[in-house]
């Protein structure tokens, strides 16, 4: 197997991979660099936070916002799948509708490569690109940890919390792949629906921590299964990993099923 489409997808996205990796890495360094001064004034900040309603801290996912774990969770890791989800949507939509809009799909699909393999190679390329971005992000966490040791979290916990975010990100990518396979040529609609899914599920997850009405819907969001506090304080929750992995596989299978059966657009 020559993996022509996988290699091409990586080649097409390497600039984006480094752009996103460096951007998120610099943001991580900025956030970690601010921690020593936050830690110094922890007592003052806690007094301020005492005046805020409980729902405010609930939205942040922790009531201990100024410990190393709470700070990293509330200021960085909470947003990581949301931010990378945007790039995952772009990758997913480009997989099929992008090729159709550029009118390159006919040449691609006329190669002796089954449709399922075209989509699978693109899906795997997205996975590798996301791992590449997360690796740069992890390296910046390591650098930040070395420069500012006040953020006292072990490297294996930093690695676990970084790479575990791959799962909710790939769920979001899976939704975009599915929409790309379902909606020939309708990249705009795919983008709108994927973005609504990303922002909507994020809001349900975040507001669900503070609202009893929204809370029952949290299990239907990928963010529910990426509990960074649990990972940073304990270990990798296997149940959550299993749920997200099954969701990714189901979305991938549904994308293949749809893409196999529909007419290709030009």
């Amino acid at each position: 197997m020559k993996w022509a489409i996988f290699r091409k997808s990586i080649r097409d996205s390497w600039k984006g991979m480094f752009g996103w990796g460096i951007g998120l890495g610099l943001y991580a360094l900025l956030v970690i660099g601010l921690y020593p001064s936050v830690a110094e004034q922890k007592a003052d900040f806690e007094k301020i936070m005492d005046n805020y309603p409980d729902s405010m801290t609930a939205i942040m996912g922790t009531d201990d916002l100024f410990s190393p774990v709470g700070y990293l969770q509330s200021q960085l890791m909470l947003y990581l799948p949301l931010l990378l989800g945007i790039y995952a949507i772009l990758q997913g939509l480009n997989a099929v509708t992008g090729e159709e809009r550029k009118q390159t799909m006919d040449t691609l699909a006329a190669l002796p490569i089954p449709r399922w393999q075209i989509l699978t190679e693109k899906f795997l390329a997205t996975l590798v690109i996301m791992v590449g971005i997360l690796t740069q992000f992890f390296l910046s966490l390591v650098i930040g940890r070395m420069l500012w040791p006040e953020l006292d979290i072990s490297y294996d916990k930093l690695a676990a919390v970084t790479y575990a975010s791959l799962l909710p990100i790939m769920v979001i990518a899976g939704v975009a792949f599915l929409l790309s396979a379902v909606l020939p040529m309708h990249r705009r609609w795919g983008g709108i629906i994927s973005s609504l899914f990303l922002v909507g599920t994020y809001l349900i997850y975040a507001l669900g921590n503070a609202s009893k009405t929204i809370e029952p819907f949290q299990p239907f969001t990928p963010f529910e299964y990426y509990n960074t506090i649990k990972i940073l304080e304990g270990g990798l929750p296997l149940g959550d990993i299993l749920v997200l992995t099954v969701a990714i596989l189901l979305l991938w299978a549904a994308s293949l099923y749809t893409f196999e059966r529909r007419d290709l657009g030009t």
């Binding site: 022509a4 489409i5 091409k8 080649r11 390159t104 040449t107 002796p112 490569i113 059966r261 030009t266």
Partner: protein, 308 residues
């Protein structure tokens, strides 16, 4: 001409509908091994729909097709390995050079074909080292032709292959197609470039509004409907007598009625007998160009006039 003995493309009642619109209606077509088959029709007739259905890029609403004896749906991957395809809208990846594009197709096909690609590039006067970004229509077409031909497939399916090529390159393209045919390979090309079809094809299928109007040899198509007879007399003739003949379908006369150009349908016996009443200086026959024959199908007869 190559020996025709084996069906390479066969469609049986192939139909494609988009909602209520019928893009292709009960297409029954056979293309033999070694022939160059022209698929003619105006824009929107269903040429590209046929090609995309044959290649399983779109799925038929009903009917079936076989390519090289393989089912177009079930065996599409095997078919793709043996077909060279040039789409009508040739769009390339802008972030590649020609060589990189050839390497990409090589990887996809799992066949080494750089040497053949370089040979074709030389024939088509195309530089594979240049970026694919900002190429002219003609150069995109050349790159597409190289990609379609470089793995030396037994069947070529070319959708409007010469659109955008300059006349010199069209000549080179014609030579390539003749060489391919001489090797016993088959070419199915869609076009509305009639001189190209006339110069290259053994047979043509004419498509109109999704229906196959006829399949004919080029020669038969040109001879089938009508001929023009040029009669030059030594003195003026009574034009109305000729117009009155039942098999005269059109008549043009010069100002002094000594030269008549008569379009005759069927036998010319009555025309010759009437002309014999006058001193006849010369008689010649003009066969219709394919374009005239083509227009006849789409013009006054609405595609109903030809018996296949």
């Amino acid at each position: 001409m190559a020996q025709h003995s084996e069906v390479v493309i066969q469609t049986k009642n192939l139909t494609k509908k988009y909602g209520g619109m019928v893009a292709l209606h009960d297409l029954n077509l056979e293309v033999q091994r070694g022939e160059v088959f022209g698929y003619l029709g105006p824009n929107g007739a269903g040429k590209t729909t046929t090609i995309r259905t044959l290649l399983d890029l779109i799925r038929p609403t009903s009917g079936a097709a076989t390519i090289l004896g393989l089912d177009s749906r079930r065996d599409s991957v095997k078919i793709h390995a043996q077909v060279g395809f040039l789409p009508s809208e040739m769009t390339l990846y802008h972030n590649m050079t020609g060589r990189q594009y050839v390497q990409f197709i090589e990887q996809g096909r799992r066949v080494a074909c750089m040497a053949e690609a370089e040979r074709l590039a030389q024939r088509l006067d195309y530089d594979l080292h240049r970026s694919l970004e900002g190429l002219s229509t003609g150069n995109r077409r050349k790159m597409g032709l190289i990609a379609a031909l470089m793995h030396r497939p037994p069947l070529l399916i070319l959708d409007e292959p010469t659109s955008g090529l300059d006349p010199l390159m069209q000549q080179t393209f014609n030579e390539l197609i003749r060489e391919i045919q001489a090797e016993g390979r088959t070419v199915f090309l869609s076009s509305h470039n009639l001189p190209e079809v006339e110069a290259l094809c053994d047979r043509v299928g004419i498509l109109r509004a999704g229906k196959l109007v006829t399949v004919e040899t080029i020669q038969a198509l040109a001879n089938l409907r009508f001929r023009w007879f040029i009669l030059e007399f030594e003195q003026p003739v009574e034009v109305s007598q000729f117009k009155a003949l039942s098999n005269v379908t059109a008549l043009e006369a010069n100002s002094d009625n000594t030269r008549l150009r008569i379009q005759v349908s069927g036998t010319i016996d009555s025309v010759i007998k009437l002309a014999a009443h006058y001193p006849l200086h010369d008689l010649s026959v003009e066969h219709p160009s394919l374009e005239e024959a083509f227009l006849e199908f789409y013009g006054s007869n609405n595609g109903k006039g030809v018996q296949a």
